[in-house]
């Protein structure tokens, strides 16, 4: 079930209609060409040798036997191929910033010595087929000196803990200073003094892998001094720029081609080490090299969502007004700072006194990095469970408690629009919240207990710079050039729909050219829920320019074309622009066997005007499914004695299967605040932010025990009920 409420919005021609993806036929008939489908003449196959130890110094490496194996064309190692993977580790975990990357203290190379996690890369082979490449890996002799390792972020900060870097295990910030990330608003101590009651709790969340269908791969092909990379990228422009910088090239010397890709969920932002390894191998051997990671390599070798510890302290008055929020957090980043280690959520509350201190910590687990809403789902789980507990403890309905305490526009900080009240109350009505929640948690008789949980969120929907080019020929056929790829949300189709609407033509008259840096202008990349808004605004501006040209000059004739390009730098006039959401979920917990089943799920969102209802709805559903998995299934368990990962892969991480997925009722309240393309905001990341929080709150409501760590596995439920 899903529904779109469009009160007060003028209907449009193309936008707002359920529209099949423009590449649907190619995808479902197997014609779509993914990176691994490319075959170039003389193409070799690459494989990477990885560390079997969580922490070790490489004393020596002998590649002679591997090089002598017939079919092997090149072996590169940490000794003879020292290439910085700039995006792989950045001071402060920041992105897209050349000066910050240059200043980074702890860099990640394509091959590393010492190796700092199981899966860290050491060497790579190019050979005439995949099996020879794999056999060659087994012939490389490495002498390791094992070093002590540390897996847990809090232990890593203790005196005497094994050091991942000699400067200490607290990650440096973007200035290169070894200090926690602190946000200090108002006066938190004064807030606690004002409170009638104080609540404290510790929450923990696990490592979650993005688990995109297509493991990383890259096909590199040099022609002279120009590198063509066929790679599944979530941002071809960024991938090109990062790769050029890492290899000492100019941007125009790198062409990135991503025609089709099998998902990323944040895992394929910027460039990947696979791109650099393939490019380095290809340059050495003078032939195209296809580098493919296995599922296990993809799971362990690169990155996923960071595990966290969150210690909350909340001050609240008897009437339910929150007076102070404090959180001390730890984020396990693995040995490279791929992303911030942020723990978001408390800023969704209006409480004027908020203190947050997060220590991003190096460990010898696999690297943590970007995953759909990188800082949010675990943070909202923590704060929303904390607040849910506070609400029940002081006898308030969590929805009422939220409506009383959530952040609202102020004189100082206005919003472009604000619909959170409506988003929450509509969700509550559709779900029948009052009837489903247990006023007294855990009050169902018998071993099978039902309960309902709720969470809310706001998430950035800011505008920014991107580019688009649109062309028309004498036959009134339009061509739109946008540097987007489709990681799932249907960006090519969305861009085509925006162009058709802005041009006043039908989608079938618009050919979309995408996924090739030599053919398309800059685009922001499919991360941060930005493409629809930012590249979409560029499409609108280019289309308007083209329409003006047509008005001024008439349609082109003969072989002539008219072309318009746009790179707008829009602002929101100092206002904050957010999308909003609320999720409501009912669970049934069998307390005899500790299992949790989702009975009903309602997702209520405001993401501005919806461009393509079918893909927007599925973005919320897909993200919700991932969030449910984070809540009740997924983790990456390590053996404490050896530092070896035990549960990589779909089977061990127990991702939801189709049979586990409930019906998810999605409801959009559509608006147009005048800022996005036709009012569009963000949708791609918003759904995942709420689900772990809502599911955990529902379990607590069902069984009467707060689940303070994710995933909520049966041993935790049975432990609580024992």
């Amino acid at each position: 079930m899903s529904e779109f409420t469009r009160e007060g919005l003028a209907p449009l021609s193309t936008i707002g209609n359920d529209t099949p993806r423009i590449d649907a036929i190619e995808r479902v008939t197997g014609q779509a060409k993914y990176t691994r489908d490319w075959k170039l003449p003389g193409m070799l196959f690459g494989k990477v040798l990885r560390s079997p130890y969580p922490h070790a110094r490489l004393v020596s490496i002998d590649t002679s036997e591997a090089e002598a194996l017939p079919g092997v064309r090149s072996v590169i190692t940490y000794e003879n191929a020292q290439v910085v993977w700039g995006a792989g580790s950045v001071n402060g975990g920041r992105q897209y910033n050349d000066p910050t990357k240059e200043a980074t203290i702890h860099r990640r190379y394509i091959f590393n010595n010492p190796v700092r996690f199981v899966g860290d890369s050491i060497a790579a082979v190019a050979a005439t087929d995949r099996n020879i490449a794999e056999e060659a890996l087994a012939l490389i002799k490495v002498e390791y000196e094992e070093l002590p390792f540390v897996l847990d972020p809090e232990e890593a900060l203790e005196d005497g803990a094994p050091l991942v870097y000699e400067e200490g295990n607290l990650c440096p910030d973007f200035r290169g200073e070894f200090a926690p990330m602190i946000s200090d608003i108002g006066d938190v101590e004064a807030g606690f003094a004002e409170a009638d009651q104080i609540f404290e709790e510790r929450y923990e969340t696990g490592f979650i892998h993005n688990a995109q269908m297509e493991p990383r791969c890259s096909l590199a092909h040099w022609q002279g001094d120009k590198l063509a990379l066929y790679t599944p990228s979530q941002g071809i422009s960024n991938c090109r720029h990062d790769t050029a910088r890492d290899l000492g090239l100019e941007d125009h010397q790198v062409q990135v081609i991503t025609k089709y890709m099998g998902g990323g969920f944040g895992n394929k932002n910027q460039n990947q080490d696979a791109d650099l390894v393939a490019a380095t191998l290809s340059r050495r051997v003078g032939a195209p090299v296809m580098l493919e990671y296995s599922r296990r390599e993809d799971w362990l070798g690169v990155h996923g969502r960071w595990p966290t510890v969150q210690n909350y302290k909340i001050g609240v008055k008897d009437d339910g007004e929150v007076t102070a929020i404090q959180m001390h957090g730890y984020s396990g980043m693995g040995p490279y700072r791929k992303n911030s280690g942020g723990i978001s959520g408390m800023d969704a509350y209006g409480c004027p006194n908020r203190y947050r201190e997060i220590s991003p910590v190096y460990t010898n687990r696999t690297t943590s990095g970007n995953f759909r809403a990188p800082s949010e789902p675990h943070g909202f789980y923590g704060i929303e469970n904390m607040m849910d507990e506070v609400a029940y403890q002081i006898g308030l309905d969590p929805v009422e408690f939220t409506l009383k305490n959530m952040r609202r526009p102020t004189e100082e900080q206005q919003f472009t629009n604000y619909t959170l009240d409506e988003v929450i109350t509509t969700g509550a009505e559709r779900f029948n919240w009052q009837a489903r929640r247990k006023v007294i948690p855990g009050s169902d008789d018998g071993p099978i207990k039902r309960g309902a949980g709720f969470s809310f969120m706001m998430f950035r929907a800011g505008v920014g710079t991107s580019s688009a080019i649109v062309r028309v020929n004498a036959n009134e056929q339009y061509t739109l050039y946008v540097g987007v790829t489709d990681i799932g949300p249907g960006a090519k189709t969305t861009m085509g729909m925006i162009a058709a609407e802005a041009l006043g033509t039908s989608l079938s008259n618009v050919e979309v050219v995408w996924g090739d840096t030599d053919r398309c202008p800059y685009s922001v990349g499919e991360s941060g829920s930005r493409t629809t808004i930012m590249t979409g605004l560029a499409v609108v501006e280019a289309a308007e320019d083209l329409k003006r040209q047509i008005t001024d000059n008439g349609m082109p004739t003969g072989g002539d074309v008219l072309i318009a390009s746009a790179t707008p730098s829009p602002t929101t006039d100092g206002k904050t622009r957010q999308c909003f959401g609320s999720h409501f979920v009912e669970v049934e917990v069998d307390t005899r066997i500790g299992s949790t089943r989702i009975l009903k799920y309602t997702a209520s969102h405001e993401s501005g005007r919806i461009i393509n209802p079918s893909t927007a709805r599925d973005q919320i559903r897909g993200a919700t499914i991932q969030g449910i998995g984070q809540a009740i299934h997924e983790d990456l368990l390590y053996d404490p004695k050896s530092g070896q990962p035990l549960t990589p892969g779909y089977y061990r991480a127990r991702h939801l299967t189709h049979k586990d997925i409930p019906d998810i009722d999605v409801h959009f309240i559509e608006t147009d605040d005048g800022y996005g393309p036709f009012g569009a905001k963000t949708a791609g990341e918003s759904g995942i932010i709420l689900a772990p929080a809502a599911v955990a709150n529902a379990v607590a409501n069902a069984i009467g025990h707060r689940m303070t760590s994710l995933p909520i596995t049966r041993d935790k439920i049975l432990g609580a009920m024992a």
Partner: protein, 328 residues
């Protein structure tokens, strides 16, 4: 993936002698039914077969048929065929239910009865390449490590749990296991087919080198036999049992004349809980009796540091399975 030799054989006898010949040449050998798991083990390096003896070219072992002794089920019958067979569904529903609970439709379409019964453990230490007992080493890493999924019965020195769903159902029906080796055929009782790690820490069954399981015979059942397989999973598909209970009862009215209760996922072999079987004999099947059966079922359990939650689960699973066989 490393290179290996695939041998298509025409009979079980040829398979056994081919295995013997290969081993005499110092090669390591694996028999492949569906190969769904074996291939992944070879890719992962947890099976180092030089020679894979492919049984998909064997025409025998594919039938489910009744003869004077009972029902014989070929070892190469797929799990899909087993789960859909009318005879099995009518008289041995626990076997059909166990078969349909395995993996995914894709796995069941090629995975075989023999392969399911003889699959290697899914312990995360063994499958991640630790040199444990099951890999020929001399340690069980779960003991001081992550043992949340490990054995609460029959453990030591290895604490793996048996992964098969079909095996406990076969044991509950007193299946006779038919084995072919280089020296001919032999039959092994359900009790003797599976071996505890105290007897053999490396292997889960009594198949000797170069022997393979070719089928089972379910002895004739009395007409009042009812059965069920109840499986608790961490998700609704594509995973092994956290706890599985195969229960076979000879029922007169609502009285259990005799019962077999066999667990999977909690012990290194399909685990008969004889105390529960003895308790149930002669009892009316009621909620109270089922609950007591569940309590009795964990009396001998010996949890490790992180798997105590399996005790209440096992009790609840036995209770659910037994109660589901109440008349009416």
């Amino acid at each position: 993936m490393r290179s290996l030799t695939n041998l298509n054989v025409a009979s079980f006898e040829e398979a056994a002698s081919a295995a013997q010949q290969a081993r005499q040449l110092g090669q390591s050998v694996a028999f492949s039914g569906g190969g769904t798991d074996l291939l992944q083990q070879i890719k992962d390096g947890t099976d180092n077969a030089d020679v894979v003896i492919n049984l998909r070219s064997v025409p025998d072992g594919r039938a489910i048929e009744t003869n004077g002794n009972g029902v014989s089920i070929g070892g190469l019958v797929t799990l899909t065929e087993l789960s859909e067979d009318p005879l099995v569904n009518a008289s041995m529903s626990a076997i059909a239910q166990a078969a349909v609970s395995v993996g995914t439709p894709q796995i069941r379409n090629v995975g075989t009865l023999a392969g399911n019964v003889t699959q290697r453990p899914w312990c995360w230490y063994y499958r991640n390449g630790f040199n444990c007992f099951k890999a020929g080493g001399e340690e069980c890493f779960s003991l001081d490590g992550e043992n949340g999924q490990h054995a609460i019965f029959g453990g030591g020195p290895s604490f793996i749990v048996h992964p098969s769903d079909v095996a406990p159902a076969l044991v509950a029906f007193d299946a006779i296991f038919q084995v072919t080796g280089p020296n001919g055929d032999r039959e092994v009782s359900a009790e003797d087919f599976f071996v505890l790690p105290i007897t053999d820490p490396v292997r889960e069954n009594s198949l000797r080198e170069n022997e393979l399981l070719t089928g089972v015979v379910i002895p004739n059942l009395s007409a009042n036999t009812v059965s069920t397989y109840y499986k608790v999973m961490d998700r609704e598909a594509w995973t092994h049992a956290e706890i599985g209970v195969a229960t076979v009862i000879q029922r007169d009215g609502n009285v259990a004349q005799s019962a077999k209760v066999v667990l999977t996922g909690v012990a290194p072999i399909p685990w008969r809980v004889q105390a529960v079987e003895d308790f149930l004999a002669g009892k009316q099947i009621s909620a109270a009796v089922a609950r007591e059966a569940g309590e009795i079922g964990i009396r001998d359990a010996q949890p490790l540091t992180k798997n105590a939650h399996k005790l209440p689960m096992t009790s609840a699973a036995i209770e659910t399975a037994v109660l589901s066989l109440a008349a009416g």
